[in-house]
């Protein structure tokens, strides 16, 4: 996939609002593979909704969202499974990790679908993110910031054209945020995927190709 297009799209709950000053809702927006985007949002402007629409979790919007030239409204479950295996990866705001599994198992359960990362590479990422001692720890015994880093590694464990990051650094300090940025940009460069990141305040220190206000 080379392009994600939002054409006059708007969350149903905002459809009747007249004071909508958004650069995304009800506009024509294109996200291109290989580029970096930041979506700045205030609370209640539908940031999580947007991610849910793009990731096929919800369909309560008007207008059109296209992957290349295909309307994603027509995708069935099987198609979404393929998208989530090959095309689009996400770091959920609420992470959606499995509490009873260890950090490593949480990455593996994703990685074994497409066998994208070598075990060595996974361990390397844990080290780089400063949590090598947490490999065998249960996720529900780790801090939210640590979990956020595990969720990033899991998000990288698949081939993709776009990486969606829903408030990726909300619980990270600047140092760790920079480490995360470096990893993301390194992988994006290597694999050529585009990055769409959202933020309600803190955001990664990147020279974004485009910053959009939601």
């Amino acid at each position: 996939m080379y392009k994600i297009t939002l054409d006059n799209a708007v969350a149903e709950i905002f459809a009747q609002r007249e004071d909508l000053h958004s650069e995304i809702w009800l506009n024509h927006v294109e996200f291109e593979r290989g580029k970096t985007y930041l979506i700045e949002a205030e609370s209640g402007t539908g940031k999580s909704s947007l991610c849910s629409y793009l990731y096929g979790q919800r369909g309560d919007y008007r207008g059109e969202i296209l992957f290349d030239n295909e309307n994603i409204r027509d995708f069935n479950t099987t198609r979404w499974c393929k998208v989530r295996q090959h095309t689009l990866s996400i770091l959920f705001q609420d992470l959606k990790l499995f509490g009873e599994l260890t950090a490593l198992e949480n990455v593996e359960i994703k990685n074994r679908i497409r066998h994208t990362l070598e075990h060595k590479e996974i361990v390397g990422l844990f080290e780089e993110l400063g949590i090598p001692d947490k490999l065998k720890s249960r996720i529900d015994r780790m801090s939210y910031g640590q979990q956020q880093r595990v969720a990033l590694i899991r998000a990288l464990a698949q081939p993709m054209d776009f990486l969606l990051l829903d408030e990726p650094i909300s619980h990270l300090d600047d140092r760790n945020s920079d480490i995360m940025r470096d990893i993301i940009l390194r992988y994006a460069k290597k694999n050529g995927f585009g990055v769409i990141s959202t933020s309600i305040g803190k955001h990664m220190n990147i020279d974004y190709d485009k910053v959009l206000k939601l």
């Binding site: 990731y55 096929g56 979790q57 919800r58 369909g59 309560d60 479950t77 099987t78 979404w80 499974c81 989530r84 295996q85 996400i90 959920f92 959606k96 499995f98 009873e100 599994l101 198992e105 593996e108 359960i109 994703k110 074994r112 679908i113 497409r114 899991r154 698949q158």
Partner: protein, 393 residues
Amino acid sequence: MRLIRKLLRKHMSFVQLAGFFLANFIGIIIILSGLQIYQDIKPLLVGDKELFSKDYVVISKPVTLLGDSTFDEEEVAEVAEQEWVVSWGKFISSQYRVDATIRFGGRGFTTHMFFESVPDNFLDVEPELWRFDEQERRIPIILPRNYINLYNFGFSTARGLPQITESMMKSIKIEVRINRGGLNNDVYEAEIVDFTDDINTILVPEAFMVWANEHYAPNADEKASRLIVEVANPTDKRITDFVKEHKYQTEGKEEQASKAMFLLKICVGVIVAIGAIFSILSIFILTLSIYLLVEKNSEKLQNLTLIGYTPAKVARPYTSLAIVLNVAIVALALWVVGYLRGIYTEKLGSMFEGVGESSMMITILAGASIALVIILFNAFVIRRKINGLARKR
């Protein structure tokens, strides 16, 4: 798969699964043992082999001092048009003199004899054995089993002759002489191809009978001595009414065996129905229990589909669970049925011949089909539920 199983094992209720296991286990044992008992007891009631392949009634007239006990065309036509008649045929008897000589152990004895025939389609004998060829001069015959019993238990003991078995009897060649008129006889070789409890006469192929009557008694009147009638249900009341009204007599397997058979079928039907109720209820328990399990794990299942797992893959641990449970249940139930069967065939086998000679094949197949149906049903329910979770809202 290991990780998914680890993830989904939580919330699994051992008590619910054990409840299902037990209930379905009992249900399937009842169903399968009902089937097996039916197959084991059936030969007792119908004899080890049925000569007549269908349900039939033989109609005859009572013998009186005056009058004729054969059926004329009109009477035959009246029977033929009855609603309960599926098909019918005439008994034709030989219109010529027949003598038979049996030789064995250096002795021989000769007796006057007669033949009767019914249409071949009423008989369940190998066509290869049951044919007549004028050139071969060989006549296949079917004897009532009573005849051997008469010989073995009456005649042979009184005369100090050896007893003979059915297979010995079949290997004995019988010399049949048919009178051509005067003192001239034609000699044929008769061969016993089967014995029957179903009917009390000496049967030969209809082809032979028609040819022989034509050949040896061209002027004789070929009337039906008795009628054989195929019926859909031998216990039909209209048959008894008809017979009573016309003062006919009936014989046939509807008498004892059919009634016993009817009762056996009803008993087995009831047993299988009870087993089926057990099984169906237990399937509800399993389905409910899987439903609850999926419900409790719904968030995890949903997250799995969100990170790219297909519903089919997510459903697999549950489907495997259903497969393992059901296969184990049926396998164990078959083992139990086999064990019980060992006990009752031993007991019954000492009293009756022919018990336990049938195999467990049908029961095993039935068990396998039941397991398959339950597994498919479970798989369907699981997939539906998980597809529902994976669908976009």
